[in-house]
Symmetry: C2
């Protein structure tokens, strides 16, 4: 407590104090390396005395592995992605890896972010809800850094992606609406450049049209993937009273469904689901709460995270990067209160 070293102890300092060679110190901190137990203990003790902490930066320089994974977030306004970030942090931390976090504008280009994380020799890059040029993908792949898109895919790209069965999910919501008797619809779409929004909308519309619903009975609003965007879109669309409020509204993601729901109640004093039914997608924690109790398609975050990490194969750095895999996992419809349940089966577990 008295002396302030002012400078960090190195493995040499520890070696000197413990009376061993520097490489012994290195070995003492490398699980699985051969070192006499007695010696290891002596080294650990010396290290403790000197407040020695191994320098991972130096380590990375020689091993060519940083143990750092970059997570680039494209839409922090959507709690879903924060939940995803949390899941990645937990998993990666448990494996002894570090997470370097980045945000880019909602749905914006992540090229600059990639360039920056590349400098830090990250072992892998995870991208959520952000655009990515193919040039950046090959830049990463050329240096042996796998890139995986979470909840996105770029057709024909070298980058792999993990996503939910979006079109199928859209269909599920459509089916639920139909079962509840809806005949006119609106959907609030998100980022027009993102495949996620497109796919969900496509599945939704396809299913409706299969049921004989006309295209003109399905209107489209732009909510820009955020709460306020959906809120404003709804107010704007129905404010003048000339546009009839549809029987059912599909928010392409929960946060927009919530924005729409609040707008409907606040500005038009409508009841959900009595006056309008609403469906969402994601199953974020917020949407499960009392004021919303949103019927939605749950994205299995845990499973998607697992798949993402599997593609990254951080443990086997030398395994070649598999190009352009597109892993899709099924979502699950969670019945809550925002769509009347067909045969009164009410709220499913998970509410």
């Amino acid at each position: 407590m008295n002396i302030r070293p002012r400078t960090r102890a190195t493995s040499f300092d520890v070696a000197a104090l413990a009376g061993v060679s520097q490489s012994a110190v290195s070995r003492a901190f490398t699980p699985g390396s051969s070192l006499a137990e007695e010696k290891r203990l002596r080294i650990i003790e010396a290290a403790r005395k000197l407040n020695y902490v191994p320098n991972s930066i130096a380590r990375s320089l020689t091993t060519q592995r940083s143990n750092i994974v970059a997570v680039i977030l494209g839409n922090t306004a959507n709690p879903f992605y924060l939940q995803v970030l949390e899941a990645f942090m937990h998993r990666l931390q448990a494996e002894g890896r570090q997470v370097l976090t980045f945000t880019v504008e909602n749905g914006g280009e992540s090229d600059e972010a990639i360039l920056r994380v590349l400098r830090y020799q990250v072992d892998g890059v995870i991208l959520t809800s952000a655009q990515l040029s193919t040039r950046m993908v090959s830049l990463c792949h050329d240096r042996g850094i796998p890139v995986v898109l979470f909840n996105r895919y770029i057709p024909g790209s070298d980058a792999s992606g993990v996503r939910c069965a979006n079109a199928e999910g859209g269909r599920q919501i459509a089916t639920a609406f139909l079962a509840a008797g809806a005949r006119s619809f609106a959907m609030i779409k998100g980022d027009p450049k993102g495949t996620t929004s497109q796919d969900r909308a496509r599945g939704f519309v396809d299913r409706l049209m299969e049921a004989g619903i006309g295209r003109d009975a399905i209107s489209e609003l732009e909510g820009h993937s955020v709460y306020d965007g959906a809120h404003e879109a709804v107010v704007r669309e129905f404010r003048d009273g000339r546009t009839k409020i549809p029987d059912a509204i599909f928010g392409i993601n929960d946060i927009m469904a919530m924005g729409a729901m609040d707008a409907l109640r606040q500005r038009f004093s409508l009841k959900v689901p009595d006056d309008v039914m609403i469906g969402g997608f994601d199953d974020i924690a917020e949407a499960r709460r009392f004021p919303y109790r949103l019927t939605t398609v749950r994205q299995p975050i845990g499973q998607m995270v697992d798949e993402t990490l599997a593609i990254l194969h951080l443990d086997e750095p030398h395994r070649p990067i598999e190009p352009g895999r597109d892993v899709v996992v099924p979502g699950r419809l969670i019945w809550r209160r925002s769509i009347p349940a067909p045969r009164g089966d009410g709220e499913t577990k998970g509410a």
Copy 2:
């Protein structure tokens, strides 16, 4: 596109291609270093051809600066801290720094997290809502790494902290309740080890007692700083009908106020503010929305982030670390609907 280098180009490769020395390449990527403009251009061009990206890991090894700041999150279930993380990411990214993110159990020990980020030679550590042993603080300070606690302080500790005027905020909520005519109260407290919760509660109680309210008219619930915790605490407390529901409930933070509000409405069919009034703290985005419209004390996140970064003084690595500063910034009461406004001034801007 044809050749896959399989190995990253180094400054030597670039130097060779550009016909200059390796140090020239280094200078070309170091703003402010003296290098003929013509040469710099040639180097940049060669670098582009080789897809060269400077290796920050190697750079850090010599400069002893990593340009990485660690953010350790102690309660990711509270959106407030995610908002804080976002703010830090924005600010730090804009300055060209990287953010290494960590989560620890809600209110848990962050010692292990510190040890891990220390290995990466981070330039500074920001801690939100987590406990920290004084030993870790000196470990960091001894190596010249400043630590600052966000929204927390440890009396007598060497670690600096930035926080809101918590006690004063608690007083403001109490004053608002009193003005609205409340005479019986409950407060939902968070992490009992955290000073934040304690301070807010203290200010709240002090103010009430000054107004002649008896200590027995103020009950205390434990909400563990999370939505569900507050929800359950409220249900548990009032379920049997023997405990009278108070006039006003203070959620020590917004997310708990929301949980309480939902419990009151869902389980006891109570109206807010007609039957119970509710006050919060933080002013998170969720609490501003239609179903909640919570009257709360806004924490000026931007200002707090500024103060935090000022203490970190990342630009002047050699300036000594100022020990144990405790910066407190004032919060502001935001009137919304969960407490009846005294003279009908209703919703303040920011609703």
